[in-house]
Symmetry: C2
Subunit: 438 residues, 2 copies
């Protein structure tokens, strides 16, 4: 081979895991798939590469600067930077082959060439669920999405989260009530900064945008109202009858909260947050952000909302929907940094099968039997000292070792050693499988 | 939204599936993961993008013309075109963090911008298993790999295959016996064409390359010997003692076959094929190709072999290994064309839950209970006629419908209808879950 070696290493901003950690990440994906499909969501898999005119149909903005884009022959190609635009293209393209409501999840890698920094990735898994209607879509779907995500986060072993919910009709209605609906964009932009710059500076910015001081303060205090659900509902009821849009927003929001309760979401895992807006134009009903309660500074770990026009760049059909998304690579990175994961979850095999005689065919057939009994068995074939073989099991964190010596072969059994307790017993295949699975 | 619509569609040479078919494809992937991990293989996930100097370290050839390659700032980037080079880079890079033998599988998309044609894809899933040793690796691993793949193909519902096995030492030894080892490359290249151009033309080509006619015929007849395993072994024994390398190859090959039997691989699923070489330099021991017996014309569906130097471009360490690979997208495409898949496998939900009253909260909590009992439940929230709801269940191929009317609410039960038999019964949640799972 070549004498000049290429130094092995990956591009900066990309994540790659060692086998044990990868197993944990894979288990997370499997858990998500299971939860999503338990609600009847289909898994989709769209191409990583699409025509640039598709992915950048909306055009402009930061996205366009960050994407990986290149020409191939006459074709202008871009790597997908989210899973929403591909979904819009998919639904528009396959409309007549789909049944609505169309429920899909997608877990896939997306690409953004942003400035490299700790905890930000250029290749990362996004994990989306969306429910798309044909013309209409019941508000109950706006309860199901956060209920699914609450179950998913819990199943991932992250019990400490709070899905914070707001409604865009409520926000827009509130602006109507104060006669500032033409300033909607500026108000949302200013309110979005409250955690960064504080109340006074937001009011300042609102005044600069032409709001009267008392309106600015009232609006800000309303949307940052931080009390319990009951108190929030009481506060909201004081605006009743002033704007049909506002009333509809409040009614939808309550309906969503009640339905989430019926779906079994725990009270501590969701609540009102009237300051959430999620961008300027796209969302039209419920909007969600999810706080990781042990460390709110990391930002929302699962967000989304209700929209009315999924695929306007591709079709005239009105396709309303509701969706939420988890940035899985970033979430994994954070949990890993916080040492959330136990290493035992990371071993591929449940038992290392160690032949103690030269009769390898016996070892092979015994290990095959153990595998047929539902156990993940790695057989050790290499010619090494016994201690090396045990070290190998220890290093990989394999919880059991099965020894097959002459006595065992004679008895038709194996000696099963529990690597944690050190206990060892001679068992037949069925007993060994049961012990390992216990 | 925009009035000028972009026509939705994907790039040519890319595969995208409708939800039911996608479910089948996803199930295939899940099955493979399960089989691989039952032998202690770890799943890996390497970046899709790598530095070009890594992926093209070997350089030259068809590959270089086909890859998707682009510059980003100062970085020359290429999309991975297989999973072997990334594995080599991974093992060289993480050598000190890995335990050997290192067993990994990877199921991931790779990219080759080859000329677009039916059944060939530019983005496709490759599905690889490899076992890497540190300096040494037992020949038994060369039996385990095809045994794993045999179990995997069987688990995928493809019983009609034959893994054809050869050994490069045997081939090289045979060339030694005939004193033509310096013509190795030319002989292998010519023999490779036998199914396309026939015996006579291969002999012609061998003669053009300087082989005596009787040697050409003998070598060709030896490697294309198409008899039973017993007859093949007898034929091979006639060469015994003439070349140590040949004898070692024969001995390894027999050892592999015997070990595969011990591992439980069915006789009809594997056998000798002395004509298989798999390229020129890389492989050094066992080589495998897998025939899809109902239609051999589609070519090998699972191939690989034993190699001695996985990562020579990245490290001086000798890293021998053995691996096999399935081109999963192409395999799926072929099976789909042959109508191998039953559509029922494609429904996401097992039951469509249809509320028959306005009490949606009851419907939500009942459907949540059914879900907790382990059933995949989609709840129908939309305001449509009953017939439309039943049509929806039919179109998606959901096997059961659960109805919740006033009577059911009163009894605390649901009416479960089997969509295939038409049978309907009022059952409590536990009974319903059992019926659905049966």
């Amino acid at each position: 081979m070549s004498d000049v070696k290429v130094k092995p290493g990956i591009l900066s901003g990309f994540m790659e895991l060692l086998p044990g950690k990868q197993k944990i990440f894979d288990n997370m994906q499997a858990t998500l798939r299971e939860v999503f499909s338990s609600y009847g969501f289909y898994g989709l898999d769209t191409p990583v590469l699409e025509r640039t005119e598709i992915l950048l149909a909306k055009g402009g903005g930061e996205t366009e600067k960050q994407v990986y884009r290149f020409d191939r022959g006459d074709t202008d190609i871009t790597m997908r930077y989210d899973l929403t635009v591909p979904l819009a293209r998919y639904v528009a393209e396959h409309y007549s082959d789909l049944s609505f409501p169309f429920k899909r999840y997608q877990i896939g890698k997306v690409y953004r060439g942003e400035r490299s920094q700790k905890g930000r990735f250029r290749e990362f898994y996004q994990c989306d669920i969306d429910i798309i209607g044909d013309g209409k879509l019941s508000v109950l779907n706006e309860a199901e999405c956060p209920a699914v995500m609450a179950e998913a986060l819990t199943a991932l072993g992250i019990p400490d989260f709070k899905i914070r919910i707001n409604n865009r009709k409520l926000l827009n209605g509130l602006f109507e009530i104060y006669g500032v609906q033409d300033k909607k964009t500026e108000i949302l932009r200013a309110v979005d900064k409250i955690e960064k710059i504080g109340r006074e500076k937001v009011i300042e910015e609102l005044k600069e945008n032409g709001l009267a001081e008392e309106n600015a303060a009232d609006i800000l205090d309303t949307v940052t109202f931080g009390k319990s659900s009951a108190e929030t509902e009481e506060m909201l009821s004081s605006f009743a009858g002033k704007s049909a849009l506002f009333d509809e927003g409040v009614s939808d929001l309550k309906r969503v909260m009640d339905a989430m309760r019926s779906l079994g979401v725990k009270e501590e895992n969701f609540g009102y947050d009237l300051s959430i807006a999620r961008g300027l134009d796209y969302y039209t009903g419920s909007v969600y952000e999810t706080q990781f309660t042990p460390d709110p500074s990391i930002g929302s770990i699962c967000s989304g909302g209700r929209y009315d026009d999924l695929a306007g760049y591709f079709t005239d059909r009105p396709l309303p929907g509701v969706g939420m998304s988890i940035g899985l690579t970033r979430l994994f990175y954070i949990l890993n940094e916080k040492e959330y994961f136990k290493d035992e979850a990371g071993s591929a095999a449940e038992v290392l099968f160690i032949p103690m005689t030269d009769d390898m065919d016996k070892a092979l057939s015994f290990s095959a039997q153990l595998r047929s009994a539902g156990v993940r068995v790695q057989t050790y074939y290499e010619d090494k000292k016994f201690k090396k073989k045990m070290d190998y099991a220890n290093k990989l964190g394999i919880p059991f070792v099965a020894l097959l010596g002459e006595d065992e072969i004679k008895e038709g059994k194996i000696s099963l050693k529990d690597m944690r307790s050190g206990e060892q017993a001679m068992l037949d295949i069925k007993e060994a499988a049961a012990r390992i699975k216990a």
